[in-house]
């Protein structure tokens, strides 16, 4: 539990550094801290499925982002400190205080960490293997009990690729 808290603080620090650094490349590298610390968090919480997906996706996106930065600019354009920025910062501070206050109230009502609170989850854990025959319970949930979600997810990915291709293609466009 202590390791989780240390890793979470490290993730928050990485996000702050990524926001505040002037060099875009170092910002992206400190963004990678978030993803890889999240991977270790998933492994510690005994979710290896999520950890595999997280580490692969994080590596791919970091490679693509670094390639994009090396081709364009590395220096971030400077911003001036005006009255607008002070007002926006004050609004953000108020929102953070309200958010922390309400989340403390909410977390007091949640069950203890690791305790099961849903009756559905108990049915899945007990009956997953006899009902579906899949040894990996996550696969039994995402492809049998909750199969519609996965079907919609795959269709959304397909639609996204069709959209990217439609935007980036040059065939059939009028010449400007």
């Amino acid at each position: 539990m202590t390791t989780l808290i240390i890793l979470t603080i490290l993730m928050i620090l990485g996000a702050v550094v990524a926001l505040e650094s002037k060099d875009v490349l170092s910002g992206i590298i400190s963004l990678g801290i978030i993803g890889f610390a999240l991977t270790i968090n998933f492994v510690l919480l005994k979710a290896p499925d999520l950890a595999i997906v997280q580490i692969i996706i994080e590596t791919l996106t970091l490679i693509i982002l670094i390639a994009a930065v090396l081709k364009t600019t590395r220096e971030e354009t400077a911003e001036k400190y005006g009255i607008k920025k002070i007002v926006l910062g004050f609004i953000g501070l108020v929102f953070i205080v309200v958010f922390i206050y309400s989340s403390i109230k909410v977390f007091n009502h949640l069950p203890e960490f690791g305790e099961q609170s849903l009756r559905m989850a108990k049915i899945y854990i007990d009956q997953g293997l006899p009902l579906t025959g899949a040894g990996n319970l996550v696969a039994a949930v995402i492809l049998d009990f909750r199969g519609y979600d996965t079907l919609g997810e795959a269709t959304v990915l397909f639609t996204a690729v069709v959209g990217v291709m439609a935007v980036l293609r040059k065939v059939g466009r009028k010449r400007s």
Binding site: P48, I64, L157, R169
Partner: protein, 147 residues
């Protein structure tokens, strides 16, 4: 996009077969071990992305066009939708795991769990081809070309 140095190319030659094998293993054993269609598909797409980054887009272009990434992705999603209506064709309801009910394999073996490994294979094809076609569209497509 130009290729990289000889060292990167040699390391890529060594690594790509094992990465591809790991991706196929993760897809096929999705119902037994951690992983599944999404993780394995992204691994397969990452393997092809590594090849393009190492060898440069000009050299790999003719090979990449033969692979027909967009068509492969369409086949993957079509396969997934077809697997879901197998239940309807057999007189039960949508997304029914009919193979596991009529012919249940031995648990914790490769041939078990009915349509779940078939769905994993379809998702693996779809996700791998989708991510690879996005990358290849951003990397090599020029004016007046079609994938």
């Amino acid at each position: 996009m130009r290729g990289m140095t000889l060292i990167v190319k040699q390391i890529t030659n060594l690594m790509v077969p094992s990465i591809l094998l790991l991706g196929i293993y993760v897809v096929l054993h999705g119902h037994l071990t951690p992983g599944g269609g999404f993780a394995g598909g992204v691994l397969i797409a990452g393997c092809f992305t590594l090849l393009i980054l190492a060898y440069g887009s000009e050299r790999i272009k003719s090979e990449a066009k033969k692979m027909r990434a967009s068509l492969t992705e369409s086949i993957g999603i079509f396969l997934f939708w077809f697997i879901t209506i197998i239940g309807l064709l057999n007189g039960t309801y949508f997304f029914y795991n009919i193979i596991a009910k009529t012919n249940p394999g031995e648990p914790f073996k490769l041939f078990s769990a009915g349509i779940i490994p078939l769905c994993n294979i379809a998702i693996g094809i779809e996700v791998g081809a989708a991510l690879f076609s996005i990358f290849i569209t951003l990397a090599i497509l020029k004016v007046g070309e079609r994938l």
